[in-house]
Amino acid sequence: MRNRLAILIAILLAAWVAASAKEKDAPPLYKTAEAKHFTQTEGVELSPAFSDYFYAELRNELKKSKLAGDVVGEGEAVDDADAKDSIVIVGTITEYKKGNVVTSSLIGFGVGLRSLKMDADVQRRSDKQNLCTMHIHVKIEPRWDEKMMAKFAAQQVVKDMKKELKPQGQ
């Protein structure tokens, strides 16, 4: 009985190691990825620093995700040969609500939270073909800084990208 259990654990361990090694060794789906500064629709009152910080966070998350071999800066030139295997992320912040601390504290259940909505598109660099469209909605406590919202939004964009793009690449 003990031997069987040991063998089972060893097999499970080997399978887990092999799966993690495969994930690590898997080549990136795209050669380069470029994130652009997201535009804001009329009526969205976010500080200019938010846009810069969100851009930096998005690039940081893209690097971590290993979706692309290289995360290039905005406006960087990419070799023509690599353009068809490269992506560009563009987007627009469509809605921002500051939230209300009093309502959030008194009522709770998600009422009065600070909220941000954005639409993002992932395009192929060579022909500008849309590979996927994402609608992001992030909610945080109204006491928290808007930079936290940028952090969560960037994480959500990359998470959705991974989900949408993985089946196409495989």
Partner: protein, 223 residues
């Protein structure tokens, strides 16, 4: 010995102001060897390939950040200081990268294109409380030395690094963060599409000498 009430009141208020000023001065961080970091490129950034490789020369770098203490990059916990002026760090990084790619002229007279840099941001920017947000932003006026024609090229680099509890780790993270954003900005400048277009445009007109070259207007900082 008696003093009038008004005299005592004014004396005590002066003392209070002095004490407040002294406490403020005591809180002001001072540069010491243990809180000074050295920011530099770990390796040169390879520029893009130009159709006609020009020779660059950096004429001047002006700090337009409006920062009264450009060496102080982090104010809390005793402060973190740079060992050199940001303008010098950017100049060295650019020269190092251009030299490695054989794109740096040996002297000003032998250069095809001259660069005048306006530095708008160097160091940490306002980020979330959980991490450091490094940002380097500059604009270069690329000028054809022969024709006098010039164009503006913008570059920006960003980096996010984790915060830390220990002062030693905090200092290390800040240093790495600024280095990464500097590298990113230099890369953005040397490999940018804007730079490619500017160089091809200015080098194309190299043989055509205009009657009166237009003076380059320095860019204004972002509002």
């Amino acid at each position: 010995m008696f003093f009038p009430k008004e005299y005592l009141a004014s004396c005590s208020s002066v003392l209070l102001v002095c004490a407040f000023g002294a406490s403020l001065l005591a809180d002001e961080p001072k540069p010491k060897p243990e809180n000074t970091i050295s920011v530099q490129l770990t390796e040169p950034v390879p520029p893009q390939k130009f159709a006609i490789p020009p020779k660059f020369w950096i004429t001047d770098i002006t700090d337009r950040s409006g920062n009264p203490q450009p060496l102080l990059v982090y104010k809390d916990r005793g402060g973190i200081f740079l060992d050199r002026q940001p303008t010098l760090i950017v100049r060295e990084a650019l020269e190092q990268s251009l030299k490695a790619a054989n794109l740096l002229a040996t002297e000003a007279n032998s250069a095809d294109l001259t660069l005048r840099i306006y530095l708008f941001h160097f160091g940490l920017a306002e980020g979330s409380a959980l991490d450091f947000f490094g940002k380097v932003e500059f604009t270069a006026i690329v000028k054809n030395a022969k024709t006098g024609e010039s164009q503006e090229v913008k570059a920006a680099g960003t980096s996010i690094a984790k915060s830390a509890m220990k002062k030693k780790n905090l200092q290390k993270n800040v240093e790495e963060d600024i280095e990464e954003s500097l590298k990113d900005a230099i890369r953005n400048f040397l490999r940018g599409q804007q730079m490619k277009d500017t160089v091809s445009e200015l080098m194309k007109n190299a043989d055509v000498v205009p009657a009166t070259p237009a003076p380059a207007t320095p860019p204004q900082p972002k509002q």
